[in-house]
Symmetry: C2
């Protein structure tokens, strides 16, 4: 089950960035389960990672290597991703296994081991089968190609029902700059098939600090603004690589170019994040929760998340029930101080459903029901407290969500 059409986009290659996916038989036979990516020497790298204290071993290795390189790679960089096993909750053996995979790959491609970035997604707690991963490395390297995006998008899938990709091009300084990315995930956490993963590459040249700033900003408004079930994975990671091969440099001194690039980058991140929500576990709705007139963006996010996490609102969305009482109740219990309920307004798409602490005089159940039948719904809340806003994207809570998560291991 997923929301909207399954349209994997045209993926523009990124000069200096190659991808290859192979069937390594890591957990199940005959499926692409090992994905290699390579960025040319001279690339810069930024990353955003889960804040979960039980983060997976590969997350620890990625963060360490990113720091060790200072975000700039003198030699080729390799990203290796296995599915089937998350290598999380695996203690010291898990770290040894992640490092062993990196060591084997570093030797085969003759780069320092801090140029290897490992990613794992799958069952938590079971040991990573290092031998099978290592055995798959030569074929994955062999398949590296600048046109390997679609194969890689399939290769990183676990319980995803769709491959997820986004690609944009823009003209800067008389040249074409490409930003292309893929993601996986069907919940904020898939605790056994753990993880949201995102990989975005551009052929622009961007200095490490600026690249990290752009990655953090884009992540905040995309991957950090979606929720299926409020659970945060142990393995969530998103890497942004800039190869510089387009010959275009993005810097803070050319503000217009920076803004155009930043906007395009955010668009790619947002498309990848939205694709995860559309493919959310059991999802039948794609819901934007937009909170406006808040004192701060943080306050708007708090209210939006309280709505987006409410099981009662999510079940009402599944039932196509314009249950505005549940929305008011969620706004009322959001952790923000001194909320004056008289100033709160709630819209379902463009239909005003509640204002001044109660149902709107103009509201009819027929109008609300008509909006709730739609597959894409915006819940818009005005707080009358300021001019900050935030949007969080989420799904409904369906029988299938329970089925997927209750049946998964058994």
């Amino acid at each position: 089950m997923a929301v909207g059409a399954d349209t994997f986009p045209e993926m523009h290659p990124v000069k200096g960035f190659r991808l290859g996916a192979t069937k390594a038989g890591i957990k199940k036979p005959d499926r692409r389960d090992l994905v290699m990516m390579e960025a040319l020497a001279g690339s810069t790298i930024a990353g955003t990672f889960t804040l979960n204290a039980f983060c997976a071993a590969p997350v620890t290795v990625c963060k360490r290597n990113l720091m060790s390189l200072g975000g700039a790679a003198q030699q080729n960089v390799f990203l290796i991703t296995n599915t089937g096993y998350a290598n999380a909750g695996t203690g010291t053996q898990g770290m040894a296994n992640a490092e062993s995979v990196c060591q084997h790959l570093a030797e085969q491609v003759s780069v320092p081991v801090n140029h290897i970035f490992p990613f794992s997604t799958g069952v938590i707690g079971e040991p990573l089968p290092v031998d099978r991963v290592v055995a798959g490395i030569p074929d994955a390297i062999n398949r590296l190609s600048e046109s390997g995006w679609a194969d890689a998008a399939v290769g990183i899938m676990t319980t995803d029902t769709r491959a997820k990709g986004a690609s944009v091009q823009l003209n800067l300084q008389g040249k074409v700059v490409t930003i292309t990315g893929i993601s996986k995930g069907a919940g904020m956490i898939k605790p056994n098939m753990a993880t949201m993963l995102g990989y975005v590459a551009t052929d622009a040249a961007v200095a490490p600090d600026l690249l990290q700033l752009l990655a953090s900003q884009a992540t905040q408004a995309s991957f950090n603004s979606i929720t299926v079930d409020s659970d945060t994975s142990t393995n969530d990671s998103c890497l942004l690589v800039a190869t510089g091969q387009s010959g275009v440099t993005i810097s803070e001194s050319a503000v217009d170019d920076l803004e155009a690039f930043s906007t395009a980058l955010q668009s790619v991140f947002l498309q990848l994040a939205h694709a995860i929500i559309r493919d959310g576990e059991g999802a039948t709705k794609f819901v934007a929760v937009q909170v406006e007139q808040a004192r701060s963006a943080d306050e708007a996010r708090e209210v939006a998340y309280t709505i987006a996490h409410s099981p009662l609102i999510k079940t009402a969305l599944f039932a196509c029930d314009p249950n505005w009482g549940r929305i008011l109740a969620a706004v009322g219990r959001a952790p923000i101080p001194d909320l004056a309920v008289e100033g709160v307004s709630v819209y379902l798409n463009h239909v005003l459903i509640a204002e001044q602490g109660g149902v709107a005089a103009s509201y009819t159940e027929a109008a609300g029901s008509a909006e709730m039948q739609k597959e894409e719904i915006t819940i818009r809340v005005g707080l009358s407290r300021g001019d900050a806003q935030a949007t969080i994207w989420t799904t409904d809570l369906s029988y299938d969500y329970v089925k997927i998560n209750a049946d998964y291991r058994s």
Copy 2:
């Protein structure tokens, strides 16, 4: 669906406290839907109420009257509870309606209107049918009786599948002191059939400030330590009334008596709160989440709530799946600083399942599965950070939870 046997206990009458329930036809015919309670003049009163900014009109009136009386009633006090309509999200008309009911009742029983405490539970947003409530008042008054507890427990039910009561007696100062109470609720919020309500009465004499302290403490460890779905109702209220008719005075100067009374009171509150969880929407499990070795009780509660709210843990409980990875992931994302995962241990009942950042060496899936088959489960988490602890009680997340909440209004 509910957990454990349905055993409504023997309810010891409380001297000076009478209850009556009538069929007022407020929403549906032929069911007890209007409950009256009366406490004799001289009673003291304490209350705890929802923190939801969209609190219902009757909650506002109760808080105002409690303050106006200073917790001590010179004349008889009346508690009037209707089901069918929550009188929440009803704006200024809702306040006028609540006050109108109080005014009518005050006139009939000849007490000042600030001696009337109104409670409503039912659909949010629809106007309270004042005429039908008022028409039911004479018969409700007529039925007032010290042995009316069981009828009242039934009369306050909405989607509850069981009446909920608790009653204890203790000997103090050579006399018998009784504490008896009832509650309703099948979720922290039933957003249309909104509300958890609790009414507890004792024939001890307790000064208002001490009574409020005892009520707040008992609420924190009971009604404020349970969660079905993380949603907080607009109508949640719990009133504690002390009639003083036993002739026993509880005060801070007699510490042993105070402690005995406080322990008994907490027991009544906890039984009533547990009854709500056992009757939780779609519940098949009664789960205690016990977090130990925390730096503070607040920290322990944060971790316990993160576990208790996780849809992924709740679906695993429903599936009887000892999915310890989901528990570790929830602990890891709880909002507490600097958690060292090496110090975290997780038990399912008495089975150690995880320690030192991964699965315990002694753990077997068979042992974990055996515990998960049970209807009552304790998830015990040790943090190795201090000696504070907290327990939160919750249920699983089942198909029936989705069904109840998706089908309710349609």
